[in-house]
Amino acid sequence: MADKRATEDEVVGELRDGMTVGIGGWGSRRKPMSIVRAIARSDLRDLRIVSCGGPDVGLLCATGKVAEVVFAFVSLDSIPLEPHFRAAVESRSVSTVQHDEGTFFLGLQAAAWRVPFLPTRVGLGSDLFRAHPGLRTVRSPYDDGEELVAAPAIELDAAVVHLNRGDERGNGQILGVDPFMDDLMLRAARQRFMSVENIVPTDDFLAEGPVESLRVPRHLTDAVVEAPRGAHFTSCPPDYERDESFQREYAATAKSPEAWEAFRTKYLDLPTHAAYLAQVGLS
């Protein structure tokens, strides 16, 4: 029986320069921030980030880890635009491949199902074709002959997600109301990494949530990292809400290089998640 427990740094040790990495969560919600910070302090570079984007995208752009962002939106929710992502795009230090949320969803689904594309009306007539080089249409082979968008598979080299609970064997439980794209990203990826608030005995799962909360069976994960408060400063209900004041502090650092360097030194240049928790006063 495999014990899949690992540390953030062991997960990062499996990643390589230039990889396409899907990051779970949505906006500033349930982001695997302890692993994101471990990527930020690593030597990795030129990553292609696929995300329902939030501070994961901004933080990795600001630390120079990203060559390209594949996205339908990037937002901090309570702060509508992600300032570090904005700065990276506007200074052209990262390139972008843009999606509608629908082509993003279908692209991950196509990768998970191992088909090259899925047909949809989403994108027809819009400038998505200019913002997503290579996007193509496909004609229905049936009598209707309708021309549709062929949402291309978004194959991930790796996926990184943060859930509420997991066990040592890599089963995962989402206690919050929305699974977002997390389980789909795991299905669309070759290497699958999950952090969780707590690792619990398998038999304890149903004490906290219904069977429908068991969204991630263990054949979808290669490693599980126990990271209490691992989504900080994003939300992880029902365990905790977003740390809005910390988020404001993070967002404000986009205003000057000095402010960003101070933030980076204080919160990112730390050896472990435990050291981070101590620094933000959560340990």
Binding site: F73, V74, D100, R121, V122, G125, R130, A131, V177, P179
Partner: protein, 252 residues
């Protein structure tokens, strides 16, 4: 006779956009549209489905911005399910727009050239999928020539010209209304260009024309937007927006 504020008139105009929709998902985005959608259901459109702003359909008249307000949950509606509803056609969304043009094209992706934006905005979000699949309306809290532009920099939500080019492939495309802080607009003209449908009390058609960066269709007689009834005002003030968040979006 009405002592309604501009924000309250805007709420009623947003509610009116959902009139006749029946048992579909009304998906208003923004404080005033959300209050408007909830007002429509509480009065003349009782079968609408409305979310709590997150992943649940809620059956009761939920106030905006009140943490811990009791919810009568009628169904689960996580993110991916909302996308599927969009594609099924059983939804009417009211989105915002950083730019909107004469033919109803919307931009929320970026200002400037697409490959070198001066300002990177949110992204395409769900706008292409919303507009090709479902009735769509827009809410503009700050009517100005910077928002109502001759041509948007990036087409995220598709307008009437793009839909016409697609022909039958855009058979589900429908821009229902544009509601701004100055008036209400539609595309019920022969060329499907934007028309002034009504002006809010205290606003003239000339005011609207001056604040619009393209040639707006202005009928000879422009009616005044409907003011809230006493029942609607009580619902807005006492039930749906007790903390007056509406005045933060459209100041008195």
């Amino acid at each position: 006779m009405s002592d309604a504020t501009r924000a309250e008139v805007c709420i009623v105009a947003c509610a009116e956009a959902f009139r006749g929709d029946g048992e579909i998902v009304a998906n208003p985005i923004g404080t005033i549209p959300i209050i408007g959608g909830r007002l429509a259901r509480a009065t003349f459109e009782p079968d609408l489905l409305l979310t709590d702003g997150e992943a649940l359909f809620v059956a009761n008249d939920l106030p905006v911005g009140v943490a811990g307000a009791p919810k009568v949950i009628e169904a689960w509606n996580p993110y991916r399910m909302m996308l599927e509803i969009t594609w099924s056609g059983r939804r009417h969304v009211m989105m915002g727009a950083t730019q909107i043009d004469r033919l109803g094209n919307q931009n929320i992706a970026g200002i400037g050239p697409l490959d070198a934006p001066k300002v990177q905005l949110l992204g395409f979000r769900g706008a292409p999928g919303n507009t090709i699949n479902d009735p769509t309306s827009y809410w503009i809290p700050n009517h100005s020539p910077k928002v109502f532009v001759p041509q948007v920099d990036v087409v995220t939500g598709i307008g009437c010209d793009r839909a016409a080019e697609l022909g039958p492939r855009a058979r589900f495309h429908r821009i229902r209304r544009v509601v701004s802080n100055l008036g209400v607009f539609d595309f019920e003209t022969t060329a499907h260009t934007m028309r002034l449908r009504s002006v809010h009390p205290g606003v003239t058609a000339d005011d609207v024309v001056a604040a619009t960066g393209f040639e707006l269709e202005v009928p000879e007689d422009v009616p005044e937007s409907r003011s809230p009834t006493a029942e609607e005002l009580a619902l807005i003030r006492d039930v749906l927006d007790p903390n007056d968040l509406r005045s933060k979006e459209v100041p008195a």
